[in-house]
């Protein structure tokens, strides 16, 4: 096992008060990305990638 997540990082990840605010932030962020709309792609540009 390699400790890749430091004790301080883990504290932040699991602290309920910090995480409560992260929860609000994440909910809004997810909502804006998902409810932020969707559409077609074909009229915008037609080139292939890479």
């Amino acid at each position: 096992m390699i400790q890749r997540i430091s004790t301080y990082q883990r504290f932040k990840m699991m602290n309920p008060i910090i995480q409560f605010f992260r929860f609000i932030y994440l909910s809004l962020k997810v909502l804006t990305i998902v409810a932020g709309g969707h559409g077609g792609t074909r009229k915008v540009h037609q080139d292939s990638h890479k």
């Binding site: 969707h38 792609t41 074909r42 540009h45 080139d47 990638h49």
Partner: protein, 485 residues
């Protein structure tokens, strides 16, 4: 009056049926045909599979809801498609076979004006020799019964570990072209979390096995994402998580045969190897259901409707990876030959994978098939419903609602352990789902910021909140439609 028949009552079929019913007047008929009497919220199967949520909490019976809402329901499986009708029946129809106890085996023609094929995938366990959930110590979490069964086996193993038995646990993909790596990823982290909770973590060796070339590919060619103030590859994020939790990994593995406690696989080097285990959860390959279609003279026209999954407005011209384009992906999910047939969710045939195709030195294709998660399944179903509603209301074909996976975001809130104070989740969002290398050439086809990852307790709360919100929505409780797909 129009009759819209929806095949399947999973995420996409149920979303389509509920929006159609809400927006169309009662003179129009909405009929759902599905073999399962229950609606199930599949993402929460992960918690059923670790014994943290009883399966009854993730499902509810469909028929009472549909009766209340004025949606017809037949507990049956579609068998054949007849988009031109036949000599006796001028209208297009599908044949169905009932599976409910009263009418089991009876067949019927169901006519339609519009058809939505939302039958999702066939869980193609047969494609991997010996991969049968509940045998050879392998399990699945793809349905609630599978997940419940997996938990029974896992809890017995945990008890053995408490008695001093050392155990090997193998979780990942059970076929060279399987998809749904995200579900397996959630499950491995939840299993690891439960072993720690049960104080037997040191008794277990946990291994991830996957057809991905790199960790964090998820069938999406990996992602470059914002992680706090950093920009990180999904590969690095998953590697960090696995190393931190002492999970080993085997990549580029095409599992082709399962025997009691043994998974045989070929890797990209062309080597055949075997890994042993005491408990495995392997995602099978997903395939089309093998439906047949006939024209009005009863000639086979399956090729016009199906290419494994259903053919829609995608560009299926075979071309090399370098020439793939985001424009290949469908926008309206309409079948090009029969314009009143649509296939949202997993039921549509993708133009190609999203991950780079790779072959082993023996020529075996080993790479993930493209995932279509719950969110795009719901979004595509809603836009199909909206186009049908507009077409009915205006009396002419309307395809104004479009939603390509190349212009749509998705959130994957992966549970990494259950528990109100000890749980964890890995929240990942991607925009767009299919990378657009023209629009975002420097960030691997996706928009940074909108493509981000975060680890923590909040992710668990969010996943739990989504569980309750989506079941509330699926039950069509007051103002359900305000909750986005």
């Amino acid at each position: 009056m129009s009759k819209i028949v929806v095949l399947g009552a999973g995420i996409s079929g149920h979303v389509a049926a509920s929006h159609l019913r809400r927006k169309l007047s009662k003179e129009h008929e909405v009929l759902v045909v599905s073999p399962n009497s229950n609606y199930q919220w599949i993402p929460s199967n992960i918690w059923v599979g670790v014994g943290r949520m009883p399966y009854k909490k993730i499902l509810f019976p469909l028929e009472p809801l549909y009766i209340r809402k004025g949606i017809g329901f037949k507990q049956a499986m579609v068998k054949t498609f007849h988009p031109e009708g036949d000599e006796k029946e001028a209208r297009p129809y599908v044949t169905i076979e009932y599976v409910d106890a009263n009418k089991k085996g009876q067949q019927e023609k169901v006519t339609y004006n519009y058809l939505i094929n939302a039958t999702g995938p066939k869980l193609n366990f047969e494609a991997t020799e010996g991969l049968v959930p509940g045998t050879n110590k392998t399990y699945s979490v793809c349905t609630y019964t599978h997940a419940d069964h997996a938990w029974q086996a896992l809890s017995a193993l945990i008890n053995d570990m408490k008695q001093g038995k050392k155990a090997k646990i193998l979780i990942g993909t059970g076929h060279a072209k399987a998809t749904c790596q995200g579900a397996a990823f959630e499950y491995i982290l939840n299993v690891e979390h439960e072993l720690r909770r049960n104080k037997v973590r040191d008794m277990a060796d946990i291994t991830w096995i996957s057809n991905e070339f790199e960790l964090g590919d998820f069938g999406m060619d990996g992602m470059l994402l914002s992680y706090g103030s950093l920009t990180m590859k999904s590969k690095e994020m998953v590697e960090m998580i696995f190393e931190d939790r002492d999970i080993k990994w085997i990549l580029g593995a095409g599992v082709h045969k399962i025997e009691d406690g043994m998974a045989h696989y070929e890797n990209l080097e062309g080597e055949t190897k075997t890994v042993t285990y005491d408990f495995a959860m392997l995602i099978p390959s997903f395939s089309g259901h093998g439906f047949k279609a006939f024209n009005k003279h009863h000639e086979d026209i399956t090729d016009k409707l199906f290419k494994g999954f259903m053919i829609v407005d995608a560009n299926y011209t075979p071309k090399p990876y370098e020439e793939w384009s985001v424009q290949d992906w469908p926008e309206t999910y309409q079948n090009p030959s029969y314009k009143n047939i649509f296939a949202p969710g997993i039921a549509f045939a993708p133009p190609h994978s999203i991950s780079k195709p790779r072959k082993s030195k023996n020529g075996t294709e080993i790479f993930p098939s493209p995932p279509r998660t719950g969110m795009p399944s719901g979004i595509t179903a809603k836009l199909v419903a909206d186009n049908i509603i507009d077409s009915i209301k205006t009396g002419r074909e309307s395809l104004a609602h479009k939603g390509s996976m190349g212009n749509m975001g998705a959130a994957c809130i992966a549970s990494a352990g259950f528990g109100l104070t000890q749980g964890s989740g890995i929240s990942i969002t991607t925009y767009p789902i299919v990378p657009d290398y023209n629009k975002y050439p420097k960030t691997q086809g996706r928009q940074l910021g909108k493509t981000f990852g975060e680890i923590g307790l909040a992710g668990h709360w969010l996943k739990l909140a989504l569980h309750y919100a989506f079941i509330y929505k699926a039950k069509m409780n007051p103002f359900w439609w305000l909750i986005p797909e």
